[in-house]
Amino acid sequence: MTRVGLSCSTFLPNPVLRKAHRVLIFMDTASSKSSLGVVTPQRAAFSEPLPLTCGRSIANYELAYETYGTLNAARTNAVLVCHALNASHHVAGIYADDPNNVGWWDNMIGPGKPLDTNRFFVIGVNNLGGCHGSTGPLSVNPDTGKPWGASFPVVTVDDWVDAQARLADHLGIKRFAAVMGGSLGAMQCMCWSIAYPERVRHALVIACAPNLSAQNIAFNEVARQAILTDPDFYGGDYYEHGVQPRRGLRVARMVGHITYLSDDEMGSKFGRTLKAGKLGYSFDTEFEIESYLRYQGDKFSGYFDANTYLRITKALDYFDPALEHGGDLAKAMAPAKCGFLVVSFTTDWRFSPERSREIVHALLKNKREVTYAEIDAPHGHDAFLLEDPRYHKLVAAYFDRVHAEVGA
């Protein structure tokens, strides 16, 4: 089964690189007191065509999702959790048939956790174009009877949010108590606040940026080139050849992992430690960091779909709400009405605090309700997935406020 989350192994006090199970057991132990336990994925099918930003539309599609907690009678306590690059609708809890598969934000969501499922009805959804159950390049195109593959449209953050809004309709939720996400997930929250201002009370925008920098796009392009130039890619229609562009996907993931950690964190986790204790004068894995990257690349390329990865990196590159407002983010965010919690992490060089402050500045200019916190954490971009007491207490306190507004 799939294991999702940017990098589970960063939960480990010491990297035990080849033992994914130990990673997951560690996560489970850390949260066993208030784990959600067994959760069940669901699917919703939609038959009304969804118009997409690229100009095409998708006629029939399914979204995989999970829900935790109970929707109250007034339907006011729903919280949508948007996923980042490679995660899914499996946000918290475990599966009955795969108890090692812990949701990617299990430390944040569950009974008594910062996003408390005793109070809130929490929804996780796999985005359109994903590879964890929602309609995507892997799915069979009903028009051709073959997998979509290369013909699956290039989807954007706006498209995802439009699809999520239809899921909200399906679940009978007119207005979310909050939408929450980190990184690319946070971009979806920004988009929600702009596109559906009446449907969001609060947005928790964590480790975000108002658009990608040239450097960010550059990393994505290296990842894409690795996939696109893999001989097993076959222009995106590799399914019919019975292969996967694993080598490309593996390198793409390795590049990604470099950007998720801070230099200091990488130094303290791995340093220049050698696996064998001495230099081997070969191209085998010698340094621990090499071993870590290869392990992460191998693991990821074993379960993730390359076409989905390509599309998600594009969605990141294209996200830029200020673009159609002459670069004025305040103008772009003017329709937003909700309260905002914006959180950044000091050592995140991928989406640095400076980028979050741009979002805050736009909200201040619009005189919106906003709280901004800069968490001094050593872990780089990955910090948003980790259990830092200052960060989690802050999110918990913010959800106390949300709860007081919406009731149980």
């Binding site: 805050v360 005189k367 309700e369 906003v370 968490i375 802050l394």
Partner: protein
């Protein structure tokens, strides 16, 4: 930090000057108690600015919108004249560049409110005369661990404002919560100023 009675009198004096429904920026807002007090008494809106993690968390608990930021880096995030009042409560004396901050306060706000411990208070003078740095409710730190680097007297601040075209609109001086009218620079422990830019029509 300070006796509760002093805090309350301090808050009440500020609330007395703040018009209902005003937009307020509270610099160095601590745990947000002043902001919360003003929300309750004057139905204000706006933000607190605070650098300390625990205080930021306390502000969220208190229902105060807070922006985590180092005031030494100025108020770049805030637009010109976007607040009715900018408050700097018991923070001026700890700022490296207090002069620039006061100018920034008058850039982003129509009026400013500043409170600071009066170094000219007789108890402080007495301790200095005895050869020691002062310790009191308003100056609770030892010389070696104090955040207070720019202490001043009421006379100093009057002169500071006069030299910079800052118009003092109101001033209140308190000692242990009681208003001091006679010889405030000698008898007052805490000074509260309400000021505006004299070039602006108030």
């Amino acid at each position: 930090m300070n006796g509760i009675s002093i805090d309350r009198a301090d808050f009440a004096a500020i609330a007395h000057w703040v018009k209902p429904d005003a937009r307020v920026l509270d610099l160095g807002c601590g745990d947000g108690s002043l902001f919360k007090y003003l929300q309750r008494e004057r139905n204000i809106c706006g933000y607190g600015v605070e650098i300390d993690d625990d205080n930021v968390l306390a502000c969220v608990h208190n229902g105060v919108n807070v922006i985590q930021r180092n005031l030494e880096r100025g108020l770049r995030d805030f637009e010109d004249q976007s607040f009715d009042y900018v408050i700097l409560s018991q923070t001026l004396q700890a700022m490296r560049n207090g002069e620039r901050l006061i100018q920034e306060m008058l850039r982003v706000g129509r009026e400013g409110i500043v409170t600071f411990p009066n170094f000219g208070y007789w108890r402080n003078r007495l301790q200095v005369l005895r050869g020691r740095m002062p310790l009191s409710d308003n100056l609770p730190y030892q010389w070696f661990d104090t955040p207070n680097i720019h202490l001043c007297t009421i006379d100093d601040f009057d002169r500071f404002c006069g030299e910079r075209n800052i118009r003092i609109l109101e001033r209140k001086v308190l000692t242990e919560g009681a208003t001091v009218r006679v010889m405030p620079n000698l008898r007052g422990a805490l000074a509260i100023y309400h000021f505006g830019d004299s070039k602006k029509v108030v």
